[in-house]
């Protein structure tokens, strides 16, 4: 068993750590306060090649592996969760559908500019009435005179309305299958499609600088060739994408926890009460030890899932375990990080206050904790 990262993985993590520390961290507080989408950081991440990190060079990517990708997301999220999700959603949800299911023509047209970071793309699965029950989709697409006419609504879609967004990939019902169940397919819906509109960004508890909107389709007509993958393969395709997406959300959670731990450790050494640094109190030391223990554990799980994916193993169980565990670890860590900061931790000037708000979504997005447990139980054969 070999726990060493390759030179390349170490170099990529090092680059991201440096970039996040010097460019992302100094901007985090302001972006959060103003709910400002980080266009400049997206441009810089594109220049570095992060926006297409795991895709092959021939499609504009950097050709790195999943382990490198997980490390990159951790380092960016360590500095700022909003920038982290913007990157993670772009790669795992926005771009991956084209890479996995696109035709050569679709890959050239969409994946290449996405991997270069010149364009962003949304992933529209969730609907107001279909969340955990993603198969309960109500959006419909009907083929009429060589065009698909889409009607319906999508909720909470990340990166769907920025100035760089080129469109969103959605699930929609296209009929009924042989067993009488709804047939679900995937569609590429460009931003300028008549009848396709976006709401303003939601006002959120956390991830404030990330772009999340509601999408509405009213007789939105798209060309017939905008079907992505096989007709009727839609739900399965999206669930496959979410399997990989779990590694990415788990990495976000670990990164956030690392960031909160960094802040708590530094603060504990600096803050004096009763004539000594609070880090000299055993109660504080125990908290920090527990935080580090859980972060290390979660990180190993995420990297194991990434390694399994890179080596063509079945990674679905590990990815689910990692997503669930690191989401919960991030909650315990941000909670103790604020506790260690005392009253200052409740103040907006201290990063842990933002991290505390940014954490909750880790246990909800891309499959809630409850749904993760259901997935795990199902994989156990229960």
């Amino acid at each position: 068993m070999d726990f060493d990262l390759t030179d390349e993985q170490r170099a990529i993590a090092g680059l991201c750590r440096e970039f996040a520390r010097d460019e992302v961290k100094p901007r985090a507080e302001e972006m959060d306060a103003k709910a400002q989408f980080p266009y400049d950081l997206v441009a810089k991440m594109a220049e570095l090649g992060l926006m297409g990190l795991p895709f092959p060079e021939e499609y504009g990517g950097a050709g790195a592996d999943t382990v490198s990708y997980a490390l990159a997301v951790m380092e960016i999220a360590r500095a700022d969760a909003s920038t982290g999700i913007t990157l993670a959603a772009h790669v795992s949800l926005g771009s991956t559908p084209f890479y996995l299911f696109g035709t050569e023509e679709q890959k050239r047209r969409y994946l290449v500019p996405l991997a270069r970071g010149e364009m962003l793309w949304g992933f529209g699965l969730t609907e107001p009435q279909a969340g955990s029950d993603a198969g309960g989709t109500r959006t419909r697409a009907e083929l009429r005179e060589g065009r698909w006419i889409v009607n319906g609504t999508k909720a909470f879609i990340t990166n769907s309305g920025t100035e760089l967004t080129g469109g969103t990939t959605i699930t929609a019902i296209t009929g009924t299958d042989a067993k009488g169940r709804p047939e679900i397919s995937n569609f590429i819906v460009p931003q300028d499609t008549p009848g396709f509109t976006r709401s303003k960004t939601y006002r959120k508890m956390g991830w404030k600088a990330s772009d999340t909107r509601e999408l509405s389709f009213v007789d939105a007509a798209i060309p017939e060739e905008n079907l992505l993958g096989r007709r009727g393969g839609g739900l399965k395709q999206f669930l496959t994408i979410l399997d990989g997406g779990r590694i990415s959300v788990a990495a976000l959670s670990v990164g956030l926890a690392m960031g909160a731990y960094d802040e708590a450790l530094a603060y504990a050494k600096d803050r004096h009460q009763f004539g000594q640094a609070i880090s000299k109190f055993q109660a504080i030391q125990f908290k920090l030890a527990d935080m580090l223990m859980e972060i290390e554990h979660a990180k190993l799980m995420v990297l194991k899932a990434a390694w399994e994916k890179d080596n063509g193993r079945d990674y679905v169980m590990t990815a689910s375990l990692a997503k669930l565990y690191s989401g919960e670890v991030s909650r315990r860590v941000v909670n103790e990080a604020v506790q260690i900061h005392g009253g200052y931790g409740f103040m907006d000037e201290y990063p842990v206050s933002r991290m505390y708000r940014d954490q909750k979504i880790n246990e909800i997005g891309e499959g809630t904790n409850e749904v993760q447990r259901l997935v795990i139980a199902r994989l156990m054969g229960l």
Binding site: D7, E8, R10, A11, I12, G14, L15, E18, F19, E47, L48, G49, L50, L53, E57, A62, G63, A64
Partner: protein, 262 residues
């Protein structure tokens, strides 16, 4: 055109520095090694010259360092340098400025060069003497503390920082310059650069391979560190109390005037 950039591998600049009293050297074990931050400016300057000149201009990284530093040298390649030359030899251990400069000069002459770019100083020993010594052994003009650099064919124009302003200096290649932090903003290595760096060559040479014909290690050092002391702890500052900012500023100015500091 051949541009060579000298880089030093130094202990992580954010780590606490400790000196071993017995050897009078910096303790390097247990501390991560990084590229001397000043040398990133030298690499950037070389890459910008290469991008401007185009054609068959190459940028080669040169370092005298243990072979274990290979991974750090790769970062310079990931930034965009073409290849690297490492002089790694246990016999080089403990070399002083003279020995380091002599060895680098021999290796650089053997390799061939038009322009050598160095940083102004290292973050560990920080003598700032190496570039001057290296120019001397190379037998070429040395322009140190450069904040602006232009090349037109073999005509080099530079602005050299001085205590009071700057001097405009011009010379012909071959030459050596050392660059300051105001010359540019070093780029991050890109992912493509990192992936591409795997395929670039890092040639590792012994002192003999590099054409170093004299001993340069600690026994050959011409200088000796006789004593090392940590600087005395800074005394307490003087605190001025005043009713408002203007009164406070006035008091501080008076204090400085008395000591002829302003």
């Amino acid at each position: 055109m051949k541009i060579l950039v000298t880089v030093k591998l130094v202990p992580d600049t954010t780590a606490e520095k400790r000196i071993d009293p017995s050897t009078k050297r910096l303790v390097r074990t247990g501390v991560e090694t990084v590229l001397n931050p000043f040398d990133e400016y030298a690499i950037e300057a070389a890459l910008q010259l290469k991008e401007k000149a185009g054609g068959d201009t190459t940028v080669t990284i040169v370092t005298l360092a243990p072979e274990s530093g290979k991974e750090i040298v790769r970062k310079a390649l990931a930034m965009g340098a073409d290849d690297a030359l490492m002089i790694s030899d246990p016999a080089a251990e403990g070399s002083d400025v003279w020995g380091t400069a002599y060895a680098l000069a021999q290796a650089i002459k053997k390799n061939g060069f038009d322009l050598v770019i160095a940083g102004t100083q290292s973050t560990d020993s920080t003598t700032g003497e190496l570039p001057g010594a290296l120019a001397e052994y190379l037998g070429v003009p040395g322009v140190t503390y450069v904040r602006k650099l232009d090349l037109d064919g073999t005509a080099l124009k530079a602005e050299r920082e001085t205590d009071t302003g700057y001097a405009k200096v011009s010379t012909d290649l071959p030459a050596l310059v050392s660059v300051t932090k105001s010359i540019n903003e070093p780029r991050y290595p890109s992912l493509k650069g990192i992936m591409g760096a795997k395929k670039k060559t890092i040639a590792v040479q012994t002192l003999a391979d590099a054409g170093v014909d004299k001993p340069i290690g600690s026994d050959a050092a011409r200088t000796e560190v006789t004593n090392l002391e940590t600087p005395p702890a800074r005394g307490k500052g003087q605190i001025f109390e005043a009713a408002d900012a203007v009164a406070g500023a006035t008091k501080i100015v008076e204090f400085l005037r008395e000591r002829k500091l302003v």
